[in-house]
Amino acid sequence: MPDPVTAILLIPLAAAAILAILPDYRIGAALNIAACLLALLCALTLPWHRPAGGDYLLVDDLNIVFVLLNCFIGCTTSAFSASYIGHELQTGRLQPVHLRFYHAMFQVMLFGMNLALLANNIGLMWVAVELATLTTVMMVGLYRTAEALEAAWKYFILGSVGIALALFGTILVYLAARPSIGEGMDAMIWANLLAHAPQLDPSLLNIAFIFLLLGYGTKVGLAPMHAWLPDAHAEGPTPISAVLSGLLLNVALYALLRFKMLMAANPLAIAPGPLMAGLGLLSAIFAAFMLYRRRDIKRMFAYSSIEHMGIIVFAFGMAGPLGNFAGLLQMTMHSLTKSAIFFSVGHIAQVKGTQRMEDMGGLTDSHPVLGWGLVAGVAAIAGMPPFGVFTSEFLVVSSTFARQPILAVVLVAGLLLAFGALLLRLTDVGFGPVKGPAGPVRASYIPMLAHFALVLMAGIWLPPALVVWFQHVAVLLG
């Protein structure tokens, strides 16, 4: 049996090569789904059949969670994308040649993200994050409109600066490790770094972490480095918005968590927690305010992503087994919910021919499945029970109350603000008189419903095996 890790990396690459030359977009879309499904199946074997890593690749309890989530959402998004792009082709927004490029890039992006998650080498991880960024930049600019190019350019410049700062941080980590581990590749291997963490030069590590936090934090979408995120979400194809929010932000977060573990394992280095908690809280509050005056529906959910990434980074910053557990759960729930929301928003925007919320209304009447799907998604993302986001946000808040009541009050204020903004918009868009075209929609509802089913299940009953796994990872994260 071939090594599942190699398969997870090689399948997208091979698929990308074939998709780039495949002329028919229907076959391309089907192959795209098939490749994602195959990668997901390989990823599913990881918890039981864990291959030994090497100098370049690593499989541990932490990244299995991320890889599984990545492959799953990659798979559902490819299914959504198949029904989405057919419509884009009909309306003439995209040409068949664009779709060839789009499908190939989709797989290269999945390859980049999986490589970043599985890398055992901080240099390799950096290169992989850069690759994933580049592919998403190209997809954001896919429509070639002035707005799309502007969004892609902004994303490109800000993302590149972020990535450059992260590389500077990576170099500093190497310098911090060199005296104790020795020159060469050994000092960039993650497993070695963690094993020698207490002996690493603490002052160099401190400065390195600042650069890494700013650099990868830009990609996570933390305020004040978030400026690229709403534009990139609003102007690109909706499947890309779904993977940006659901996956790419997580990959950058994962990179940050790796270095946070390193910092936490070194007794003399500054504690990474307060820095992360501060930035996270700032992002959550800022985004909650920004939610109010949005007119573009995708832009609004992009700000909601900033808010949730803020909450997640805050939870990981608060650390401790409970904080990390809450952060992991919140991250999983946010990825599932937000990508499902984008699935429904994508079809809605196609039917209405616009992304402006003013021109939409009464969706639950005109398109019951999409409308109620959106209602369920907004209710879930706003943190209402019985959805899983409620569970995780409750955990974040309650674990914070136990230790830092003032921070918890601020966080709750932010959550309530965001809740208000989302419900305000939802009532206009979901209910009331029908506005805009109400034609039939050819959509595949399965990806959206599958995500909501999982989020709902997590809110009602978390499988004990998952709880044990997350608790274990939470302890690892320190």
Partner: protein, 223 residues
């Protein structure tokens, strides 16, 4: 310390310091063509510095990185950008935000900051790496300053490239750092994409200018 070691240290130091100086030259260029000349010089000094590091560290791989810096960043990219600005008729004056004096002062402050930050924490590192990292951080920060003081898309690319040169300097200064060549290739790909991106902006004729302010206005009002 032997004399030979002293000399190799001095040359490394001089080249790294030269890179900081060229970064300063970038700050006050008010014409795009001149800015591109300085960019070429910047990459040329970088390639000398990387080649010198390859020599003193006895790391043949670094010669490849030096070659990339010379061929790609010092010659190819500035030439490509140059042709572009002539075709677009941008070879006139470029605006800068804030006065040159103020920008220079800010640059000096950034150099002081990076020395103040990096030197105390690298006491245990070897002296070559120590100076290199501190100077490299200066180049990175001045590159950022160049980016934020310019509004033109091409000069932002130039600022980014100088920032990236600073990171290359840091990577080569860190003795024995692996993947330097791979990373410099990865960055070259990134820059190639940026250049192609600027080019695409033009050939698509969606913008009649590459002024970032105009790109911003493409967003329309508040959304």
């Amino acid at each position: 310390m032997t004399a030979a070691h002293g000399l190799s240290f001095d040359i490394a130091h001089m080249l790294a310091g030269g890179l900081v100086l060229v970064s300063f030259m970038m700050l006050y260029q008010d014409r795009l063509t001149a800015l591109l000349h300085v960019l070429g010089l910047h990459a040329f000094v970088l390639s000398l510095s990387v080649a010198w590091q390859a020599h003193i560290q006895d790391a043949p791989g670094l010669y490849i990185a030096a070659g990339i810096a010379l061929g790609f960043k010092a010659i190819l990219v500035p030439q490509a950008l140059r042709r572009m600005i002539f075709r677009m008729g941008l070879h006139r004056e470029i605006e800068t935000v804030g006065g040159i004096g103020l920008t220079m002062l800010a640059g000096i402050a950034l150099v002081a900051l990076s020395l103040r930050v990096m030197l105390p924490v690298t006491v245990h590192a070897d002296p070559v790496a120590r100076e290199d990292i501190a100077l490299a951080l200066s180049v990175v920060l001045i590159g950022l300053l160049t980016m934020v003081t310019r509004r033109n898309a091409i000069s932002q690319v130039v600022g980014f490239m100088s920032l990236e040169n600073g990171i290359n300097l840091a990577a080569t200064g860190a003795r024995g750092m692996p993947l330097v060549v791979e990373i410099s290739v990865a960055f070259s790909v990134l820059i190639a994409f940026i250049v192609i991106g600027v080019f695409l902006f033009r050939i698509r004729e969606r913008f009649d200018t590459v002024d970032a302010v105009a790109i911003d206005s493409a967003r329309g009002g508040q959304r």
